[in-house]
Symmetry: C2
Subunit: 200 residues, 2 copies
């Protein structure tokens, strides 16, 4: 089996969320697995000198309209959260804590967190909301709470975000197929052909 | 017949160029015509506070790769010009000068200019190169040269660019279908469905 695809996203990114509903099926179609790598967009924006998308004049207003229209186009449930955009340390730390135990469990937690944020308007950047959701899936909320506050784990998650930027990740979603970089849900058609043909 | 589609692009924009090879056929499929409106990306970037795409760390490097890969994906001849990006006053002024005489001639000139820039590596930001190409198509190069230097015509072209920004145009290509805005060649699939269904 060929190497897994690396899939980067930030928990506050609407395009990242939309992509999480598609990436596994796209990869599976070509016999590939996917490594989910949540990152912190703030670290990437600092490296590129860019403000958050919603704050950019004209482009910010357009993007809100485009988030919703793109979700409708792809038939994915979506509403722009009330708290948006937010810094997503809590869910990102929860993901990697669980990932060290079971990668599939971590992926399932990420999906549930994203649904809470982008469909049910729960502000998962609050540690208490992330903890409640993880607890609801049967994970040890007390151990997770300790991890969310553990300096070593915080540092590890920050290093994951910095490693992503070092690799060239500047936005969400961002995909590597055998080191070929693809930015955005709107490159999934190119990823599909790349996986089918081995490059073009 | 429904109202024409408004199609904005900057002559130095690779994604704009790729879109010029597709927009008329896409519109015609749905019985629509297209009004080509070249604009000046510099005016839009000033309004959004953004640097030119190639200058943004990480994103700039990615974009060069993506220009070429997207051209291959769509089967469109392309090479990143040696002089890139550049301020495209000369070809933009030439377009509107000719447009006042014949809209279809102006479109044909734009296509020839873009081919020169993005396929033959001619720096059409030089007035002499734009003039030579217009002359080669049988247009009055002497009258065009006067227009390129005419303060009133310069001002008119600047106002076209400012009107685009006022309407919300912040990048290239940018399309309005009945006031619904679409940014980027990668929204052409959404435009296709929008034209087919009247909105979604």
């Amino acid at each position: 089996m060929a190497a897994p695809i690396d899939f980067y996203f930030d928990f506050t990114s609407p395009y990242g969320y939309l992509a999480t509903t598609r990436i596994d099926a796209l990869a599976a179609k070509h016999g590939r697995e996917v490594r989910w790598r949540p990152m912190l967009l703030g670290v990437a924006l600092k490296a590129t000198g860019q403000p958050p998308l919603p704050q950019i004049p004209l482009k910010g207003d357009y993007s809100r309209r485009d988030f919703e229209r793109s979700a409708r186009y792809h038939g994915i449930p979506y509403r722009t959260p009330t708290a948006f955009p937010v810094a997503m340390q809590a869910p990102t730390r929860a993901f990697y804590w669980l990932h060290d135990r079971d990668a599939e469990d971590a992926k399932a937690l990420a999906k549930r967190l994203l649904q809470a944020y982008f469909v049910e308007d729960v502000n998962i950047s609050n540690p208490s909301d992330t903890l409640a959701i993880a607890g609801g899936l049967g994970h040890d909320a007390q151990a997770l709470q300790a991890a969310l506050e553990d300096p070593a784990h915080k540092e590890r998650v920050k290093q994951e975000a910095e490693a992503a930027v070092k690799r060239g990740v500047f936005g969400s979603p961002f995909v590597f197929v055998d080191d070929e970089p693809f930015w955005g849900l709107d490159r999934f058609d190119q990823i599909d052909r790349w996986l089918a043909t081995g490059g073009f």
